[in-house]
């Protein structure tokens, strides 16, 4: 389900609106993921506080959204843009790629929560596809 020119335009346009709140959305989404999908906590046992709103959760959520923003700006070559991150996730972090879908669900939920008027079904469709392609690029180096 590769990104059409329309998808890319929709994602870039929506990201323009989301960008000022990106860090907050990332923190919120990560906190919700850890709460609603406790199996994801297994990757963060080195953190003292996994509750939504904790400093570590907020910081890491912001980091994640920074990478998502980078990916939006390089939407024509997601595999290239995410190459280093893919190596990190494949060889060092070894996160099961099934979790990328779980995080994507929570990112989408938070984007809708923060921008309900802008997160139309049409935008939802393109963002869902984008995150799916992002996940694919992130899993590129796994095997």
């Amino acid at each position: 389900m590769s990104l059409t020119a329309k998808d890319k335009a929709v994602v870039k346009n929506f990201w323009g609106k989301v960008a000022p709140k990106a860090a907050e959305i990332g923190g919120e989404a990560l906190g919700r993921m850890l709460t609603a999908y406790p199996q994801t906590k297994t990757y963060f046992s080195h953190w003292a506080d996994l509750s939504p709103g904790s400093a570590q959760v907020k910081k890491h959520g912001a980091t994640i959204m920074g990478a998502v923003g980078e990916a939006v700006s390089k939407i024509d070559d997601l595999t290239g843009a995410l190459s280093a991150l893919s190596e990190l996730h494949a060889f060092k972090l070894r996160v099961d790629p099934a979790n990328f879908r779980i995080l994507a669900h929570n990112l989408i939920l938070c984007m809708g929560m923060f921008f309900p008027g802008d997160f139309t079904p049409e935008v939802h469709l393109s963002v869902d596809k984008f995150l799916q392609n992002l996940a694919l690029a992130l899993s590129e180096k796994y095997r």
């Binding site: 939504p52 929560m113 997160f119 079904p121 939802h124 469709l125």
Partner: protein, 147 residues
Amino acid sequence: MVKWTELERSTVKAIWEKIDIDEVGPQIWARVLIVYPWTERYFGSFGDLFTITAILKNDKVAAHGKVVLKALDKAVNNMDNMKRTYADLSQLHFQKLEVDPDSFRLLADCITITIACKLKSALSPQSQAIWQKFLYAVVDAMSSQYR
């Protein structure tokens, strides 16, 4: 059988009370068909589903959204009995309608996202977790007769 705490029961009911089925049902259903277009395979009799605009204006889509949410009401009121409550509907979706049960999961996620758009921060992370536990139990009950 899924076990529910008092907090979980009251949270599910509190969220459900804030949902206007007539308002939100059509929105949810349109969102599923738009974001996951392969689900249109089950709605050949619904007329024009060829564009996003057509889906959003389609009366049959809107009506069906209300039907589905009314059925969800049964789950809210029968949380201890979901498999039995949905046995007939599950049978219907398997034998007659031939719906892939993976679609139930897609619908569940769209329901949660639409509710989040409506309730915003009033849907706390803990409430989201409880609501999703509830919906996944409904998905399980709806898949129970697929054998």
